[in-house]
Symmetry: C2
Subunit: 627 residues, 2 copies
């Protein structure tokens, strides 16, 4: 088994991947490859190598001292202040200012304080260093001999940080300092002082991670000082009445000029209700929430911020921005701290949004040496292929089959939905959500059923249900379930109502199978194109991650059987869970992970399928179910 390196890729791809320099960090000996121009601090952070810092790489705390053992890095103006000429000649640099311009070996001194860590995402250890922080300060009171201004007095006690101040903080500052005898707590998010509170409030510092889905929105309240989730809540996105998927929501804004405002408000209401709910669950005050993170697809993000999504919905599918400007919690009307800030995950493309960035972060796609395939299956399916050296992304329009919308007996993955189907020589075994009488078929059941029929020989490789006589010969126990409903061939999964009443039963129709076939072809074409682009074969993929609420429930065996994912040993296909939500949590808990999320924008190359030569041929090839 091999996987392509950046050099190998050069030969096979039309696009030259970005150049890399190799850094080796001592004493651990970790080798990391980063684009030239990245700071040593970022290069280390993105790869989980901890370098001391309290300012998070802003060049103010001067704690991130490292020594260049081999190679070189230019001396920055700050270095001249932090080191003696002898130390500079000895290779000492501030890691946050030292730019990797060529291969180098870097010595990292042991940490002075051992950072706390939390486990998040796909078993990832995250070093706790939230962008939100509190500092308790006991300031000396001003006098005629010491007329420092109120804000300078506060900032002087925070001189390892280089902070901007929100104007509103100044408004009550004088009274608050004096009422609290100059014993106060500074509340900081990123490089902004958002509050100065009376007394010591450092025991409470909260954040909310939102997974802003088209269908479902999930909020997790986190204790940012311990990394502990305090409460979780979810609800349907209140925009649902405007359509089930992003395309119908975008269309709504094109048909009615007022729809954007309305949907924007509905998104805010959804987020606000969840915020109130998780705070209530945990007995927390909303004003204790200093920061929120939002992972959502590009359409959800645009609409929530009141940005016209129309250009996302029509060719050439253009976003307003990949990385969003400064967003405040008030921009989302969130009932949290009035100056709380918002981290919005950046998006790669109109159909590979911030939810995918968060998912890649949580699944460590950009850190793993293994070549992996990440598939988030839904109406729109996002596909990412790569490893720590390169990443390619695309989006495939899978259509609504997996949501159950275009499937005759389809339903959401709710109570009564058949979520698993296995066909045995003796008959059919169904797994039903909520231990109830089956009422319909959800996406994972659909995939299982079709995969089972192919395996049993009742569905041929072109996707046609076989004639009755062949069925009776190949699978006598279930062949009677193959019947007609009107002019269409159907396969009955579960009889309901009168015996033989096909219309009342839960069945799978020939047309349903065609829907799934189209969805499968779109997805498989997507990852085939990425493999081509990387010059790799399916066998080079070392792991397939099935992400998103649908992907997580899918049977890996069935996905392989249908050709939805590459034909690999079944253990290499794993469910990744709600990685978007996990990514949002990581961004709240760690500035470094957040920096890594932003860095992903430069690491991932987006491959547009819709104008690709040979796309249609490839798609037709993929309509076939594999042998």
């Amino acid at each position: 088994m091999t996987h392509a390196t950046a050099d190998q890729l050069d030969g096979v791809s039309q696009h030259t991947p970005p150049a890399r320099v190799e850094l080796s960090f001592q004493p651990g000996g970790q080798r990391v490859r980063v684009p030239p121009g990245v700071t040593l601090f970022d290069a280390a952070s993105w790869n989980g190598i901890a370098i001391d810092s309290t300012c998070g790489g802003h060049g103010t705390c001067k704690k991130c001292k490292v020594r260049i053992i081999e190679g070189s890095a230019p001396v920055s103006p700050l270095d001249a202040r932090a080191f003696s000429p002898d130390e500079l000649r000895g290779g000492w640099r501030l890691a946050c200012r030292a730019v990797a311009e060529g291969d180098a070996q870097v010595e990292v001194p042991p940490l002075v304080t051992r950072p706390k860590a939390a486990t998040v995402g796909v078993g990832r250890q995250v070093i706790l260093r939230p962008a939100a922080q509190k500092r308790y300060l006991e300031l000396t009171e001003p006098s005629l001999a010491d007329q420092q201004t109120d804000i300078e007095r506060v900032l002087a006690a925070l001189d390892d940080l280089e902070l901007r101040v929100d104007l509103a903080v100044l408004r009550g500052l004088g009274q608050r300092l004096r009422a609290a005898d100059f014993k106060v707590t500074a509340v900081i998010v990123d490089d902004v002082l958002i509050d100065v509170q009376a007394g010591d409030t450092t025991d409470r510092l909260l954040g909310i991670a939102f997974d802003l889905g088209t269908t479902t929105v999930v909020a997790t309240l986190l204790d940012l000082s311990t990394g502990t989730p305090l409460a979780v809540s979810s609800m349907l996105n209140k925009q649902q009445p405007f359509g089930a998927d992003v395309i119908t929501r975008i269309s709504a804004t094109m048909l009615d000029p007022a729809a954007l405002d309305t949907m924007s408000t509905l998104a805010h209401e959804t987020l606000a209700e969840l915020a109130a709910e998780v705070c209530a669950q945990a007995g927390a005050q909303p004003a204790e929430v200093a920061e929120v993170a939002v992972a959502g697809n590009a359409t959800m993000t645009h609409i929530a911020l009141g940005i016209d999504p129309e250009p996302l919905g029509v060719a050439p599918f253009i976003m307003a921005a990949r990385e969003l400007p400064e967003v405040l919690a008030t921009d989302l009307d969130l009932p949290v701290h009035p100056r709380a800030r918002t981290f919005m995950f950046p998006a790669f493309g109109a159909y590979v949004g911030g939810d995918i960035t968060a998912g890649l972060l949580a699944s460590g796609m950009n850190r793993d040496a293994r070549t992996r395939l990440f598939i988030d299956i839904g109406t729109n399916c996002e596909i990412v292929l790569g490893n720590r050296d390169w990443l390619l992304a695309t989006a495939a329009p899978a259509g609504p089959a997996f949501e159950g919308a275009a499937i005759r007996c389809g339903m959401r993955a709710a109570d009564g939905a058949i979520e698993g189907v296995s066909i045995t020589p003796d008959g059919l075994m169904l797994t039903v959500i909520g231990d109830r009488e089956p009422a319909g078929l959800c996406g994972s059941g659909l995939v299982d059923a079709v995969a089972g029929l192919v395996k049993a020989g009742l569905l041929d490789h072109s996707g046609r249900l076989v004639p009755d006589d062949l069925a009776a010969e190949l699978a006598p126990a279930i062949a009677p379930r193959l019947t007609m409903l009107g002019a269409e061939r159907v396969f009955v999964l579960h009889w309901l109502g009168e015996p033989g009443d096909v219309a009342a039963s839960v069945y799978l129709s020939q047309r349903d199978i065609r829907e799934l076939q189209f969805a499968k072809a779109a997805i498989a074409t997507g990852w085939h194109v990425l493999l081509d682009e990387a010059g790799l074969a399916a066998g080079d993929i070392q792991q397939v991650l099935l992400a998103g609420s649908f992907g997580s429930y899918l049977s890996p065996a069935s996905a392989i059987a249908l050709g939805l994912v590459p034909r690999l040993p079944v253990l290499r296909v794993v469910s990744a869970g709600n990685v978007a939500g996990e990514g949002a949590k990581m961004a709240l808990l760690s500035m470094r992970e957040r920096a890594a999320a932003l860095a992903l924008l430069g690491e991932v190359r987006y491959v547009e399928l819709s104008d690709r030569d040979g796309f249609n041929d490839a798609f037709v090839d993929q309509l076939r179910f594999p042998d």
Copy 2:
């Protein structure tokens, strides 16, 4: 005549002035002294030496190339990208990144484009480079082969600037770009993209300079592309009903918790009416105003921004901030461009505010080799002494004498006010505002009258009106005007009503004279303390600048006669006019002047009078009128 250099000062002052490095700029040969750590770009800019730049020193345009001929400056990471190794060895650096660490000689290449200039302030030539700018862009339309996001497409066309984007700009961006066929105008203030407008709107770019006085507020509408003032308007500050001076306004907020909000709103209304008026006068749309600058004292600035001013009003007189955080025009409820930005002048101390910073900028106090004394006379009197090497500031509580408030026949400088008085052997000559029958006495008339009485011998040096017999002997023509009103001695300036009806006349009372005496003593003590602090004598002062609406009307001869200003040849005492307003204009027209205003914060040392040893003795000494 000598003036102290920083080195001489070392010997005589308790405080060590900051260290300086000397830079010599070629080919002009100008020598400038700046604190170490200042960039070459700033050092040149603050001293009027133009270096090419389109980004204003943000390190993005890479146009500010200079060569170090003697001395050295460390290589910055940006230098490594802008220059070849040979050029770096040859001393080439980007001036905006190169830090002055020692004396150096710097070669500045000729400007590629000759910048426009405007004359502002006290005859100052200002190089036109406003922080607000417009750029007309013709962008290529996106396609499936070019899926750059809308904002990245705009920013790519502005790649000499490193811009932040206001979230609101993204909201309508997609529609606007498409409706305008991707031909748009970017509106930028500082490093923020505040708008993208359809078509080419570069012919209109406006700013408003506000002089936010306690009594009067003045607005000037400027065409930022030519430096031309388009309209000027002034009105009384609507906060007037809360008191005539800053102390009564601060007291109002302490007595009534709602007063701050009310006065804040009144300040906004005053500014808004003036903004509307200057726009209407010039036939301009308020939305064309991209930036405003505000010069006001610390109390006016605090109240306008809704910041509690109480700590300004009670010892130890503490400001919320010297340099204010980011302020938007919406923070002042100004009816201009919805994302227009505001430059608030920084303040040195609670009683040496942003109006004085603006005044120092306009009068070039920080650039002039001459040792000068700047006095802004009012209820509170701000005094600054120094030259381009050092500046000392203080504030003296002069009381309301100059505003006419504590003077029995006092009035504002309005129609009917006696603004000039001269005593001749033959009698009295009055100058009256508006060519009307005299109705009262304004500040400049008061100073003239008292100076005249001292000169004529009718007022002795302790400030007492002389006995009638001595008066008759010394000045027979006017001695009869010296009479009694009740138990108090008065000098009648103008008879009104019945002959001999002193109570109906415009007169000057012994108590009025005492008021002026106290005011004069406070001011003179102020500049004496500064002279002491600098180790200089009055004769070392090469020019006295009388600033502010009162100072500008004062007779230099009378001011000298009273000892309000040092005894110098009268031609060395000059009126500087409304320098605060001029400074505000300069900040709008030139980023460099604005940088110089901010740099002043580090250049000026504030000297507090109220806790000073020997202050009371000095004050008593100064009560005496000079011989």
